[in-house]
Symmetry: C2
Subunit: 419 residues, 2 copies
């Protein structure tokens, strides 16, 4: 096949990846092809694995961030996290490793999983250069090339701001300023070198590399707010406009694009309008949202707060949610926290899909099995049936210890014919 998936979709050619996604999503292949051609949906591919569709009309997808930091390095634990994330239903994984043998960890995760893997190449470039200042633009581009050649499906670049926008940020009156790590690395590099954003100046080169490997570009959300008191401001508006323009430019290179936005911490009442705003300004492109967290005081339980924000975001049209774990703002997540984060995010996506598309059959099937007290079927239908089974058996009682002999469902069953 010639050209990238986007180019083929635009030319009207059939494509096996599009057909496979259409089948699993229950949508018409021709409709999905048009969505992909217009940039309103993307198909994330990984060689030899099931492609994943993200965008309008498709099930909301979720991503799990894993990876080492300089303070916590255990490659085997990262593989465990990747396995748990995939097992519990993450659609993609992002490896953010900055500690230990980064290439090896990435290879181990690729080897251990069957879902698309994302990276933020700036992270490894900073580690390998020894400092942000020492990163050369060629090293940055080289890291992007290396990652996609090794099989990375999605690459994040923080291209959405200029030196002028950093000056605007300084006077925006934010409580938290910039909190995006990739954004801070890029901003620090720009300020140290007094140069414009390297992802913009070398944007066409990056697109060529992605097109050669048919990888998807994810345009980062460096201006996202770091607390709910920081709201939509000039820097955020600037980022949206810039990312929207860059998305069109990437499409011209045959590269599919996801736009990250409306993530971080957002006033809960504003989440639906933010999502609508991003979608409208980016021509309906697939929107990837981190969180958003609708409160700042849930440390230790940010996965729960993010479930509220994520459900609201997905319900309003976000297509792709980045999970938040209980260790957000506190520590690198361990494998148990990855599991909790993935499950909370799947709940958010599911509730969001119910808001977006209407009631889902899985809920009705669960209710039918619940009424029948058919426990094994309930565990099969639950998002994390293993955990549900553990709790059900925690008291070592034969039935359900909640109501013991006074089960409302059993009582109802006895009398329902008399109702």
């Amino acid at each position: 096949m010639n050209g990238t998936l986007l180019e083929r979709a635009r030319s009207g050619a059939g494509d096996e990846a599009i057909r496979a996604v259409a089948r699993s999503e229950g949508v018409r292949p021709e409709l999905l092809r048009k969505q992909v051609a217009s940039g309103r949906a993307v198909i994330v591919q990984r060689e030899g694995k099931r492609p994943v569709g993200i965008g309008e009309g498709l099930r909301t997808k979720i991503n799990a961030n894993i990876g080492t930091s300089t303070a916590s390095i255990d490659p085997e634990e990262e593989v465990r996290k990747a396995n748990i994330a995939e097992e519990l239903g993450a659609d993609t994984i992002t490896d953010l490793s900055m500690g230990g043998p980064i290439d090896e960890i990435r290879a181990m995760i690729l080897e251990a999983t069957g879902i698309p893997l994302t990276t933020v190449p700036m992270y490894q470039a900073v580690v390998e250069a020894g400092s942000i200042k020492n990163v050369t633009v060629d090293r940055l581009i080289g890291t992007v090339r290396r990652h996609v050649r090794e099989g990375i499906s999605l690459v994040v670049v923080h291209a959405g701001f200029t030196l002028g926008m950093l000056r605007e940020l300084a006077s925006a009156g934010r409580v938290m300023g910039m909190v995006s790590r990739g954004g801070c690395f890029t901003a620090a590099w720009m300020l140290l070198h007094r140069k414009e954003n390297p992802f913009i100046s070398r944007f066409d080169d990056i697109c060529e590399i992605l097109a050669d490997n048919d990888a998807v570009l994810s345009l980062g959300n460096p201006m996202r707010s770091g607390c709910i008191h920081d709201s939509m401001d000039r820097p955020q508006e600037g980022e949206i406009a810039l990312n929207a323009a860059l998305a069109r430019r990437a499409n011209d290179h045959g590269v599919q694009v996801i736009v990250e936005g409306a993530g971080g911490h957002v006033h809960p009442a504003r989440i639906p309008e933010y999502i609508a705003h991003y979608k409208q300004k980016t021509d309906g492109r697939p929107l990837f949202v981190a969180g958003p967290l609708p409160t700042d005081i849930s440390a230790g339980y940010d996965h729960i707060a993010a479930c509220v924000g994520g459900a609201l975001a997905a319900g309003a049209g976000a297509d792709y949610l980045c999970y938040i774990t209980p260790s957000e703002h506190l520590a690198l997540p361990n494998a148990k926290q990855v599991r909790e984060g993935v499950v909370a995010c799947r709940i958010a996506a599911h509730i969001g899909d119910t808001m977006k598309y209407g009631l889902r059959e899985g809920d009705r099937m669960m209710a039918v099995q619940r009424r029948a007290r058919n426990w094994e079927e309930q565990f099969r239908l639950a998002i994390d049936g293993g955990r549900a089974r553990e709790i059900h058996r925690q008291d070592n009682t034969p039935g359900c210890s909640m109501c013991g002999n006074y089960c409302a469902l059993e009582i109802m069953e006895r009398f329902v014919h008399e109702f």
Copy 2:
């Protein structure tokens, strides 16, 4: 002081409980008095303890259900649950014990706590009668009297349905039918005896008992839906109308009333309209909502799904949320699950209050401390700082293991003057 708190509020008299609640809520005492007089807010009193205000214009409150079942009896564990619930910020506790020495457990919980305690007297009446059928109406009334005389602040009765409404329920086409335990006990009693709802026939007697002890009446939500495919139907509409009428009647006896409704499992997109509907039909009375769960497939993590539903409900005007624990639908919650349930519900109430009343100062303070990497202050401001501290230290590293040497906040700090 003469009369009940409601009667004094109606007469325009000042009242220390109203003043105390007004102070802690930051509202004007005279405004609160009028709200109480009109039934739009209630003051829940417990002798010698801080009164709790629930209703329009007040902070959203949360309730934690505890209590034994016949399958899990450990009075000490119930006391631990009560202590944890109070410590983590529950505003009220409900003791639903049906196993073991119920009077003793209730006394132990009262002794161990300083917040209002609620009961559902039908539960104990069923246990002590030996069966639902053997419950006499006098026993039921006697149990209500005993509870409020012992210091119970809120009593739940499932008065909101008639035999005719049970027939409507049978033809309503629900997947789950009736799932309220108190509702099922009452319905079964009515069908076994071919008699109308005893809480309606003896409603005035119950009101007199509550008025004598100035306890608050909570009108249960027996017709709540047990899955999100069961939606607002004739039985639910009938319950709302009946509860609204009974609330007015209780007020005439000088009894303050909370209406339970819109709880259970509700299609997420419908939650705001349900809440508005209940509020409108019940003259703006304090609305107590269990959950609601916006999905059925989150078994093991229902506290997280309920946080989404609770936040949406509170944001739309619900005044009082009943927590859901991770063991919902599976087992009696243990102390750890009570903690998780309380925290998730507090997050829901807080997000709801942000939606209802605007941004809260606590979030801004947390952001300021987060930017300063002042960890102890963050733990102090977090809903469950103990848990946040544990996670922060899980890697035994000096700072935050999330980003190790590459902290975005530290990088920003170094360059912010150049932004």
